[in-house]
């Protein structure tokens, strides 16, 4: 509220004393906050405020200082310099517990939850006094199921271990947990990335309702459509500094992207393949994913990028796992063309992961932390893991060969090795680049990508799109599961949309529009005929 009145240039040096008096006190105000890690200045003199009832979007690429600011606000890190004020009073947030006590409740980018514990335990984890009377326990149950129902529109078994729930339900759990704490300021850091469109809208409703009661919200997302939908004000960060503040209506998405990136990024334009589609690489015959779902057939040709889409849990995830040989479809077969890609080779059914790998199928999993990488190992070891045998020279591994291969493939994915050694210290986007480079080394013919740009900033996303398109142009068949409408529209040659475990629509070329996708998500038959 306050900062937006001040021109950008003054903003960074804003003297608290110069602030206009008689404005209502901000719920949370941050003044001149700075944090450095060694030589890196992660946040420089950051200032912003959130007024009661206001939703402020924090925008920036990976490494722009967003996460640092979130960690400072949530008590995970302590600032080197600067102040945090809650309702006008300076506070020191020494721990997450202190931040929660001050009313700042954060939903972190990663789903932080005790998966062995029940849903109920997780919802109240760390909250208030652990000594509870019987009536307090039943109060907690009631409040928890009400809040869950309010957010998701569905009931939940509060006694189930959280680990048995889907990723999306786990995400609901951490959001409900935050809402149950009655936050003064709710910080949502990429909390929508695993939610489907329907749930995301429900979550936005909840946030607006709470905001109407005076809650402030700091909202962080890489998805421009979400940001434009919910935020009253936008604060852009670049290389640790606040570079601009805009009110709703003052700037369109293009303008915001320019602020964040410091340059114009082409956006929205479709980028289709240049190669005439080659021979079929993957053929699905009479595949039915679950008992009772309608069987379907489809092919993916070399040189094209095919998107798999749908609301979370409607079958697209099962399909990509079937393609990878990680699971077998309920009925039907997945055929993959021969390893040499010649016409005289018989396509073979893939039923195991190894069988797929032998035919040049590679799979980049969604949860790279768990399934994709060894955090503590050096980048190069993460890169060379599946292809290390190629670097044998006279029976002995040659590190020099590995290195030269890595340099070549890193260039292809536009990854510049920096000073960091272990992959765990890279940003999400760069981790994904290394993992994709790893599979490039295996010279894949079919590349399966399970939501590869999740939690990746806009600039890196576009770099990854270039990489994927390059792979397709080089003759690979690319199948990519995506939960982001913009991405599907921007990148895909064709999109297979799933609803309730079966193929609900096949959209191709110009028929891939946000409207056609979303209505296919909900199984609308009107668009289902929009194939080619």
């Amino acid at each position: 509220m306050i900062n937006s009145e001040i021109p950008d240039a003054i903003l960074e040096t804003a003297d608290p004393g110069a602030l206009v008096p008689n404005t209502p006190p901000a719920i949370v105000e941050v003044r001149g906050l700075s944090k450095r890690f060694g030589a890196t200045r992660a946040l420089v003199d950051g200032s912003l405020s959130v007024a009661p009832g206001e939703v402020v979007a924090l925008l920036g690429e990976n490494g722009s200082g967003k996460s640092t600011l979130v960690k400072l606000l949530s008590g995970v890190l302590s600032p080197d310099d600067g102040q945090i004020l809650v309702q006008g009073a300076a506070v020191r947030l020494r721990s997450p517990r202190a931040a929660l006590a001050a009313g700042i409740v954060t939903v972190f980018q990663e789903i932080l939850a005790a998966r062995d514990r029940s849903v109920l335990d997780n919802l109240w984890l760390g909250h208030g006094s652990p000594v509870l009377s019987r009536s307090a326990v039943s109060d907690r149950r009631r409040l928890a199921s009400q809040a869950w129902l309010g957010l998701s529109g569905q009931d939940v078994d509060l006694d189930r271990p959280l680990g048995e729930l889907t990723l999306m339900e786990q995400q609901i759990c951490v959001v409900v947990r935050a809402l149950l704490r009655e936050p003064k300021l709710l910080v949502l850091d990429e909390s929508t990335s695993t939610l489907d469109v329907e749930l995301r809208d429900r979550m936005f409703d909840q946030v607006r309702r709470r905001a109407a009661d005076g809650m402030g919200c700091l909202f962080i997302s890489h998805r421009m459509d979400e940001v434009m939908a919910i935020a009253d004000r936008f604060v852009a960060l670049r290389t640790g500094q606040v570079v601009g503040v805009r009110r709703r209506g003052e700037a369109d998405a293009r303008e915001l992207i320019r602020l964040i990136s410091g340059r114009d990024v082409e956006s929205g334009a479709r980028r289709v393949g240049t190669l005439a589609h080659g021979s079929s690489a993957v053929r699905l015959e009479g595949v039915s994913l679950r008992p009772g779902t309608k069987p379907f057939s489809a092919t993916v040709s070399r040189g094209e990028i095919v998107g798999l889409a749908g609301l979370e849990g409607h079958g697209q995830d099962e399909l990509i796992r079937c393609l990878a040989g990680l699971q077998v479809p309920h009925a039907g077969q997945v055929y993959v063309a021969g390893p040499k890609g010649r016409a005289d080779e018989e396509p073979a059914a893939v039923t195991t992961y190894r069988g797929g790998v032998a035919r040049g199928v590679v799979y980049v999993p969604r949860d790279r932390k768990v399934e994709g990488m060894a955090d503590v190992l050096p980048i190069i070891d993460n890169y060379s893991m599946p292809t290390l045998q190629r670097d044998r020279f006279a029976g002995v591994l040659s590190p020099r060969r590995t290195k030269s291969r890595f340099q070549r493939d890193a260039r292809t994915v536009n990854f510049t090795p920096g000073r960091q050694d272990s992959i765990g210290r890279l940003s999400g986007g760069n981790q994904q680049k290394v993992i994709i480079a790893r599979w490039l080394a295996a010279e894949p013919r079919v590349i399966l990508l399970n939501d590869p740009t999740r939690g990746v900033d806009l600039k890196t996303k576009h770099e990854l799109y270039e990489v994927f398109r390059g792979l397709a142009d080089a003759g690979a068949a690319v199948v990519m599961l995506s939960s982001e409408v913009d991405e599907l529209v921007h990148l895909m040659d064709r999109v297979l949309v799933f609803h309730d475990g079966s193929l609900s629509a096949e959209l191709a070329g110009d028929a891939v529009t946000p409207e056609s996708l979303v209505s296919a998500y909900f199984g609308s038959p009107a668009v289902a005929a929009g194939g080619h």
Binding site: R97, L100, A101, L112, A113, D121, L132
Partner: protein
């Protein structure tokens, strides 16, 4: 009737099934070999032998539950140290009365556990290294205090070696009841829940406002208190001080925890499971001695049973989770 119908399913789901079956089986074999084992005449001796093992298994539980590689190797030597301090220090200085010696010994246990917990939580050291260090320190201190087995236990301790109801209610069970009471209080106060949540994902617990370091200290301190109770149980059993026996309990306790179905990565588990685990290890020992098998074979059998039980538990769990997944689809 309805409840009975559900029993088999509930049993199959429980992590206790394997260990419970093992205890029942071993008990049957033992009774067949020596039918008088549970008679009023023999029961107190049997129970007195069992109590230290059960308590030291309980002492290992909170550390393992707390996760991050949590384990407390020092509980074995700690029970020996408590025994030696009681017999070698407190009794000679006429501090042997129950009102003085009991709180002092529980205090020694709590403080030792707390020191371990502080080193692990605030020093961010690995539990196995920290507790191996205190294992060695306590083993050494026990020998310094009492180079050879000597001495007598105070009156209240030898009183505990007897029984009520004609031998059918051994008084040493009071120690186990005490430990269970402490655990129950911790559970009721929500402490067990936070220990498990911390063990499941310590970063999630921290971010949710759980004071993770304090929780870890509490876990190790409560383990120390149980180990002190085990030390009293040992004193009841041997009636004197012995600086070397404590160590033998250390690894058997970890085995009991695994046998009881508690995963060593933490975050899950029960208290009853490891108690039953310790009981089954004890019953194996009595079975082998009834069969006149050389005691040299005992460790071989221990190891084999442990591996078999852990495998059985793992198979059961994977089958169940596979079924759960099918159910979800």
């Amino acid at each position: 009737m309805d409840r009975l119908a559900h029993l088999p399913a509930a049993l199959r789901r429980s992590p206790l099934t394997v260990v419970l079956a093992l205890v029942v089986l071993l008990l049957a074999v033992n009774l067949w070999l020596s039918p008088t084992m549970l008679s009023g005449h023999q029961l107190p001796n049997t129970v007195n032998l069992l109590v230290p093992s059960v308590l030291v298994a309980m002492a290992s539980v909170p550390a393992v539950m707390s996760g991050r590689g949590g384990i407390d190797l020092s509980v074995g030597p700690l029970l020996g140290f408590v025994n030696v301090v009681l017999v070698g220090v407190l009794v000679p200085h006429s501090l042997g009365s129950v009102w003085l010696s009991l709180p002092l010994m529980l205090g020694i246990g709590a403080v030792t556990g707390l020191v371990n917990g502080i080193a692990i939580a605030y020093g961010r050291l690995q539990p196995v290294v920290v507790t191996l260090g205190s294992y060695l320190v306590l083993s050494g201190l026990a020998l310094v205090v009492m180079p050879q087995p000597v001495g007598v236990v105070p009156h209240w301790v030898s009183y505990l070696s007897g029984a009520w109801l004609g031998g059918y209610l051994p008084r040493s069970l009071l120690l186990v009841v005490g430990a269970l009471a402490i655990w129950r209080v911790l559970r009721h106060r929500g402490a067990v829940g936070t220990i498990l949540a911390t063990g499941s994902d310590d970063r999630a617990a921290f971010a949710s406002g759980v004071r993770v370091s304090r929780v870890l200290c509490l876990a190790y301190a409560s383990g120390g208190v149980f180990a002190a109770l085990a030390g009293i149980g040992l004193s009841v059993l041997i009636g004197s001080g012995d600086p070397t026996v404590g160590r033998q309990y250390a690894l058997a306790a970890v085995a009991a925890v695994a046998l009881g179905g508690n995963p060593l990565i933490g975050g899950r588990g029960t208290m009853v499971g490891p108690m039953l685990g310790a009981t089954s290890l004890f019953l194996i020992q009595t079975m082998l001695s009834s069969l006149k098998v050389s005691s040299l074979w005992i460790q071989v059998v221990y190891g084999a049973v442990l591996l078999a039980a852990v495998c059985a538990n793992a198979t059961l769990t994977t089958r169940l989770s596979a079924r759960a997944k099918v159910g979800m689809a």
